[in-house]
Amino acid sequence: MSTRTITVLAVTTSLSEDSSTLKLSDRILAEAVSVGESTGVTVRTETINIRSLASALTDMALTGFRSEALEEAYSRVAAADAIVTVTPVYKVAPVGLHTLFWQLIDEKSLVGKAVLIASTGGTPRHSQAGETALRPMLSYLKGIVVPTTVFAATDDWGSIEGGRSLTARIRQAGEELIGLAGDLSGIAGASGPARADAAARADATATSTGEFGRATGRRAPSIDEEFDPERITPFAQLLEG
């Protein structure tokens, strides 16, 4: 029952200074903190705005060359316990800049991490973009994506009813995210009352948590590990095929 800090990193594509995407991102992070408080877990939040990496991402796509800023962003993803990925939806798909960030990250970068998908769009017709485009991609990266996704259309910001239902979705998604991140980090308290059943199941099959956890070392190796003389595959083994 150790208490520890869960780091939640928002990877957000906010194309303008004060976009609704950034607003949504901030609200989800605030919710994560509040869920943490009510379940006895310290939640630390960070945000990467992909806008600042736009040139670096296209450079890397064209040349394979990772800028220092992009390197740092990917290290922050590696260091986080949970990821919130927030994107505007254009033409029923997440904006290309956002998917490019996840397309250029190393394989298995999200092993052992809880992931929440959120997106914004002009009309509710865009609401499934996160499910159809991002969920498979994030699962491919071995992230464990929580069931609830958050989508906010213009209506959700404008009407009372829309606002309430958005708040409820954010609450639900936040609980799922912190609950799962807590389970994955082995913090029982994080499961909280709302997650009691899930926590009980996780306890009953404690090894299933381990399977996804970073302790098993299935995460892609960091660049330091990759070039660690003590860790590399001996050549004789490569020769044997």
């Binding site: 070039f227 050549f235 490569l238 020769l239 095929g241």
Partner: protein, 392 residues
């Protein structure tokens, strides 16, 4: 330490005036560049291997290297790189052996895997097997150059029964081999295992990462008992463009950079110069930057510069060679020699390799007696025996 140039033989339209040279002209220019390299006092000319436009680097580099050998006296001739994945190791053994004889031992090779996916199937191979191909093919090449009547079978080519390479290498000493890779630790490991050289092209990657690759190779070289980490044989690339006045260099090179194959239309010249070893400026700036490589790579053996790509006119390339030969290399030679520990070997030459061979100092692949690798193997074998005994 040896200094030289390496080329990828690209036929690129000059972005400043829209002119292109023909393949024929580019090939002739390449020979002229190599001859000029010798004339200005460089040690090495290295060519890539290519099978696809817009490149006219030779599909079989010994063709070009033998031609240059016939027109030069001292210039050492290398590849950068020989495609060990898609070229039959038997043909590599034979063709480079032949060129080694013709050139009186001036040939060396840098092995590379090639990063152009479509090339692999043209030769019946699969890019996903890049590492296994490099591992198996080089192991065969290594043996072909050292064993007669070889019986061999592997995954990627037809078996050999009682096969002997003709001609056998000059003085029974194969050309020196470097293994080149940008980011595959397996290749640094391979170079260390055999006691071969490790070359990093040092063009597309942040220095901090290149340094890790080099350190990995050095430590594993020591592990396999070929010498201390500081004695491992390291080569680096680099990319430069010079004018007396650094602003002139930047102004003149920018359109070539912006439209260059591979990284053109990507990062800015300034970003690329900060994040990679690209140096566009005065000869003094090139000297300072290159000397800085020693800070993270240690004392090393081979430095190659890329100077002839992206559609630069031949006249400009030849001017770059003049600057390298007159102003840069002499200073680099002098400065790199300063404080270089006596135990750090020079770049291998045919003569030094023959001497090593005759004195029985050839590296033992995987590490001979006295190496940590050898001790580890012994320990593992003893352990396996013990386990076996317990079971029995």
């Amino acid at each position: 330490m040896e200094f030289g140039i390496f080329t990828i033989g690209d036929v690129t339209t000059d972005p400043t005036d829209g002119t292109s040279v023909s393949e024929h002209q580019r090939i002739k220019n390449t020979v002229e560049i190599a001859k000029k390299a010798e004339e200005v006092g460089l040690d090495v000319f290295a060519t890539g291997q290519h099978h696809n436009p817009p490149f006219v680097a030779p599909a079989n580099p010994p063709v070009l290297l033998a031609n240059i050998a016939a027109q030069t006296e001292k210039l050492r001739l290398s590849t950068a790189t020989t495609l060990i994945t898609t070229t039959d190791p038997v043909r590599i053994a034979e063709d480079y052996s032949y060129a080694q004889h013709l050139s009186e031992g001036r040939i060396s090779l840098i092995m590379g895997r090639g990063n152009t996916g479509p090339v692999y199937p043209w030769f019946g191979k699969d890019i996903r097997s890049g590492i296994p191909l490099a591992v198996e093919n080089y192991n065969l090449l290594y043996r072909l150059w050292r064993e007669k009547n070889l019986d061999w079978e592997g995954k990627f080519r037809t078996p050999l029964n009682g096969f002997t390479v003709t001609p056998t290498p000059l003085d029974e000493v194969p050309p020196f081999v470097w293994h080149g890779s940008i980011r595959s630790p397996e290749i640094a490991e391979q170079a260390a295992y055999y006691g071969d050289g490790f070359f990093h092209n040092n063009i597309f990657w942040p220095t901090s990462h290149t340094a890790r690759m080099v350190q990995l190779y050095r430590q594993r070289y020591e592990y396999y008992g070929h010498g201390t980490a500081s004695q491992a044989i390291v080569g680096l690339g680099g990319q430069v463009f010079m004018r007396k006045n650094s602003q002139d260099a930047v102004k003149e090179f920018r359109p070539y950079f912006d439209n260059a194959p591979v990284y053109g239309h990507g990062p800015s010249l300034e970003d690329f110069s900060t994040q990679t070893p690209l140096t566009v400026g005065s000869p003094q700036q090139v000297i300072e930057r290159t000397l800085g490589f020693r800070d993270w790579a240690g004392d090393y053996q081979r430095q190659l510069f890329l100077v002839d790509h992206a559609g630069l006119p031949q006249k400009t390339v030849l001017e770059q060679l003049d600057l390298l030969g007159e102003e840069v290399i002499p200073v680099l030679r002098e400065e790199f020699a300063k404080n270089r520990p006596a135990e750090v070997p020079d770049a291998p030459t045919h003569e030094s390799l023959v001497l090593r061979h005759r004195e029985g100092r050839d590296p033992i692949p995987g590490g001979g007696e006295g190496s940590r690798a050898f001790a580890d193997r012994q320990a593992r074998a003893a352990e396996a025996q013990e386990t076996g005994a317990e079971r029995a």
